[in-house]
Symmetry: C2
């Protein structure tokens, strides 16, 4: 039936559809590779790992049909038969064991494709090409004889070069002690884990494929650790903890002050975060049921101060102009060098920082959101004590840090508090009755009036998202004028005089855990105005730098973005006008970026390229900043520049004025 | 007066005599370099380090005379003037500060030459080219501005590339924490120490040149540490200690057994030696008055088992055939990785091993004695529990390990003991009276009869060199026959019957600390015969392998060689016949080789080349070994093959027979 030349055969590989002629007798593993399809293989063709399974399909070629695969592949040998029986494999062949002896159409199942894509469940179903920096290689090293002068390490090097074409040139210091038992325990059969194709980290007797990695995002408040399977890319466990450095300073600048003030300050904060990272690693491994010693790689991201403290570097230089980084490029080292207790040879990688205020966490956000791969102009915002802002597309991206201060995190707010059970996190104000509804963390229901009565429903204060929504709702209900002053023309018992200004009673004493009213004061509104003006002005300046006046989409990263509704963000004037459907909360994008860098070594190079390519703008020294900032203090009204708020806001009662807030701004410390 | 072209000038550099034309205005540092003369310079031409001082001579050139140097060099500027005044420098110029503006003859003093030679005082006045792996570089890094995005590390990299043409690509993990204080403390002026031109180890504010290194020879019994100045090559302090592993096993094989028997055995022995190395480092630094933190490099040599235990590697594979090394090549790492407490970034280098029985210590001996650089054929012997033997010249070197056993170290000898106060270390027996004289360690005098009476003169036993000299003297006095049996025809009260054999009373009870006679028994003689036969047979087989029957010189390395007289070594038949004046004790050549590798980075490459180039012979499996060994059991008589012993030995009374020792040999464990 077949028309093929007996010296070569036609091979079609699905689902890629790649096809071509391969020499008679080529094994399928090599044949697939020659057609550009990499199959998974750890054992190097020894029919041991079972990773290269393929299904042989009977199908029709363009010109002729294959009637039976039996004639087109070599027969199943005893090793393959044993393996398939032991592992209950039916209807598949091991590509390394099967030679092409006729025309063939084979299907490479997803799990046999070397370039796996792991789809993250959370945050936008991100697809990650799994190409980790640490990979296992299985070897069989011949036993030494009396004539053997080379050491086991040198023989291992030769095997890696011969079987895997790897030129490893170094080893982790623990490797030499691991080698003799690995070799004797497996009678020469062993698995080594190699970092970046050049450093051997670990040797184990026999065949092993387990290797895990940690992707860590160190935020000033929260630390997130993702434990990932380095082979499949699967997310095994995510653990979250408070940043223990909070005890040395609530915000970044107080931690820098602590480092400057106390001789041991840096060391203490370094040890504290490392202790937490070790706890998170243990918890994640326990949750996933794996040994901490199987963790072989770690990627850490964080803002420059978190990044430097993780490395034990005094962050004092980041506390004042010129905000100089001690290291800006990517850092590679051993996890044990900073005190992490994983496998002693586990590697450590920190993504690069862009500038003194724009750190590895922002690089990770860019890596995850990839605005540089799109024609659309994105505005990417990650809000913490500072807001890191990037604007641009594949042509050009400019970024900056804007000193929003801690108001968005509930600090410097009369009844502000951190996001914790009892905190008001959502707010709605009825435009007609002017009565509020709210949600507190820890209680699923919307509350109103005297609250739900349950202890869990009693409010203790307002967290960042709560105060932002409240101010936005007050504005949308017409209780706040565009200049941010309470409009006492709106009659409601909720709005009451306090000294020379007003305050809005969000939660009455009956519904609060404190027994007092929880209110939003004029000064709270001003604090939010200052913060949002800094953010908006930063974004505006970046847009101006690019010579554009609008963006195609807005990505809100971090916890801030997750809890904030796009509508309220725009109603408050946090972000420039944009189609509301194109404003997206992207979750912990920094953690996602860390995960990408953990699972894909190319992404680390990409991050380094990005960090250098992105243009950094010092907005604090931009002569236009002050004017832009002052102009941004006003709350939006339904006209330019916010056409997408049409119908959501009251008509302007009077022109915005910023005199009140301008006075306050002069007194307000901007980075504390 | 001058005839030179104003665009170039003639420069002569003494003492090298190099000369040539250099462009007008070239600074002397660059001008000398262009003529192939490297001047010392740490500060990179900033007139800070004063290393590049030269003397300007008034002299006559071939065609014209220089009458005054003042016209031929640029004037002294204020920075140079300040430096010279502050450092009391008269009559010299800083080469980096002086431009050539006329013909010149300058003298480069020894201390300004970049390639210093350090002459070791001990052991053969060895000259070492000082080119250490760790070198200081002085930098002035511009202060960052608001526009600076690069971190301090990246700016340091740029400075090293620009000022020193170095491409450093990595840093010690402690460097990042050192950088901010080094930069701020020196206002951008700092000194970094760089390893192998590629890794930055240390950063210090201002100008520093101090850096030290340790060269360590770990013997089974004794550990020697040399503290060296990495800049000058000077030996600052030598410290010696017992190897603490002795408590886990007197000889190598018992330590291997301990490692095989006890789960924690390797770890315990590893920790013990590291503890001792730390003590030696502290003692050496204290003696030299330097800080342990200024030690930045360490070179370790030792036999394969000591080498592996120093790295924490289980040596079990070295305890039986095929005697497989875990690592044979050179090992580079951090000193802290094995637990050394020096500067935390200090480097560690172990020389390569040649084979399972021929270790880094023998490579170090070869490096120090350099038989491969000579036309003469050398026999290099380093005796311990095994004897490492190399024979050859620049054409070819063969080496082997011969199982001499511990008799040469005083073990398995009736009154044998380690070399310690009270041990008989030298012996003379009067050829006519047959009465002995002896020396004990701790007493300067030769003793005889009832000894000196002083407690220090009382003998406690016989150490290795004592038993060897005693057996050689017994032979030369005719008390031993060539077959090694006592000759009871020689009448002396010193020789008395013991069971079916005889014994010689070396020290009577009155002169001994034990209150008993210290004797040499027939079985002691046999033990020495077995050991010397192994050594001699090993050397003979290597000579045969090279197709030669004599060597031009014999080098006896190690403590064994130092305490042994060449005459006695040859009279005993330890070594092949050779002109006695060409038999040399070369002291701790392994320690010297370690020192060379510490001070000269090229020597490390040379050691690696040597370890691979030297041919290793497995003499235990050589079919000729047994016969050669048995033939070598006899003690020499004055004829072939020992013409150089003519007149020193009694005429043969009877043909040598080896039947008695052959029996014993069958029982004797050869490697225990």
């Amino acid at each position: 039936m077949t028309e093929s030349n007996p010296a070569t055969h036609r091979l079609i590989l699905m689902p890629s559809g790649r096809q071509g002629q391969v020499p008679h007798g080529t094994d399928l593993l090599a044949a697939a590779r020659s057609l550009g399809v990499e199959l998974e293989s750890i054992c190097g063709g020894r029919q041991t790992c079972g990773k290269c399974q393929v299904a042989v399909e009977e199908g029709a070629f363009a010109k002729h049909a294959i009637t039976s695969s039996a004639d087109h592949l070599s027969a199943v040998g005893p090793v393959e038969a044993d393996y398939c029986e032991a592992n209950n494999i039916v209807g598949r062949r091991l590509a390394c064991a099967a030679q092409v002896v006729g025309d063939l159409l084979i299907v490479v199942p997803e799990e046999s494709q070397a370039r796996k894509q792991f789809i993250a469940k959370a945050a936008g179903e991100r697809a990650i090409d799994v190409q980790p920096a640490v990979r296992p290689y299985y070897l069989e090293i011949p036993a030494p004889t009396l004539e053997t002068r080379l050491g086991a390490w040198e023989r291992l090097q030769h095997s890696l070069a011969e079987d895997w074409k790897l030129s490893v040139d170094s080893f982790a210091p623990t490797l030499l002690a691991e080698l003799p038992p690995a070799l004797s325990g497996g009678r020469g059969k062993l698995t080594v884990h190699v970092w970046q194709d050049r450093q051997v980290l670990r040797a184990q007797a026999g065949y092993h494929e387990a290797a895990y990695g940690l992707a860590i995002d160190i935020g000033s408040t929260t630390v997130v650790a993702h434990l990932c399977d380095l082979r499949t890319g699967a997310l095994c466990s995510t653990q979250v903890s408070m940043n223990p450095q909070v005890r040395y300073g609530e915000d970044l600048m107080s931690r820098v002050s602590y480092a400057m003030r106390e001789a041991q300050g840096t060391e203490r904060m370094h040890r504290a975060i490392v202790r937490t990272l070790n706890e998170l690693a243990e918890q994640a491994c326990a949750a996933a049921g794996i040994a901490v010693e199987d963790v072989l790689d770690v990627v850490i991201v964080g803002n420059p101060i978190m990044h430097h403290l993780a490395l034990g570097i005094d962050p004092s230089d980041l506390g004042g102009a010129p905000f100089a980084l001690t290291v800006s490029g990517p850092v590679d080292g051993r996890a044990a060098d900073i005190g992490l207790r994983l496998h002693p040879a586990a590697r450590l990688h920190l993504l690069p920082c862009i500038a003194g205020h724009v750190g590895a966490d922002h690089v990770a956000v860019l890596l995850a959101e990839a605005p540089h791969e799109s024609d659309e102009v994105s505005l990417v915002v990650d809000v913490g004590t500072n807001a890191e802002i990037s604007v641009g597309n594949r042509q050009r991206i400019v970024c900056a840090s804007s000193p929003t201060g801690p108001a968005f995190e509930g600090a410097q707010i009369t009844h502000g508090q951190r996001a914790a059970p009892g905190a008001v996190e959502r707010v709605r104000i009825h435009p007609a009755t002017l009565e509020p509804r709210w949600k507190v963390i820890g209680c699923a229901d919307w509350l109103s009036g005297e609250g739900g009565g349950l202890p869990a429903a009693q409010a203790t204060g307002i967290c960042g998202s709560g105060i932002i929504e409240a101010v936005a709702e007050l504005r949308m209900a017409g209780l706040l004028r565009p200049d941010g002053l309470f409009d006492d023309a709106r009659l409601t018992p909720r709005l009451r005089r306090r000294g020379r200004t007003f305050e809005y009673v969000l939660v009455g004493a009956a519904a609060s855990a404190t027994g007092s009213d929880i209110v939003i004061t004029q000064s709270d509104v001003r604090a939010i105005q200052l913060a949002k003006a800094a953010l908006y002005a930063g974004a505006s300046l970046l847009l101006r730098r690019l010579g554009i006046d609008h963006v195609d989409r807005v990505l809100l990263a971090g916890a801030f973005g997750s809890y904030l509704s796009p509508l309220h963000a725009m109603a408050l004037g946090l972000i420039p006008d944009c189609d509301l459907s194109r404003v997206t909360a992207v979750g912990n994008a920094a953690g996602d970026g860390a995960r990408i860098a953990l699972l894909n070594r190319q992404a680390r190079l990409e991050a380094t390229r990005l960090a250098g390519w992105v243009e950094h703008v010092q907005i604090a020294t931009d002569p236009a900043f002050q004017d832009t900032f002052v102009a941004a203090l006003a709350l939006p009204h339904a006209s330019d520049p916010f056409p997408h708020l049409e119908g959501l806001l009251p008509e302007p009662a009077q022109a915005p004025t910023a005199s009140g807030v301008r006075r306050r701004q002069a007194r307000s410390p901007r980075r504390s």
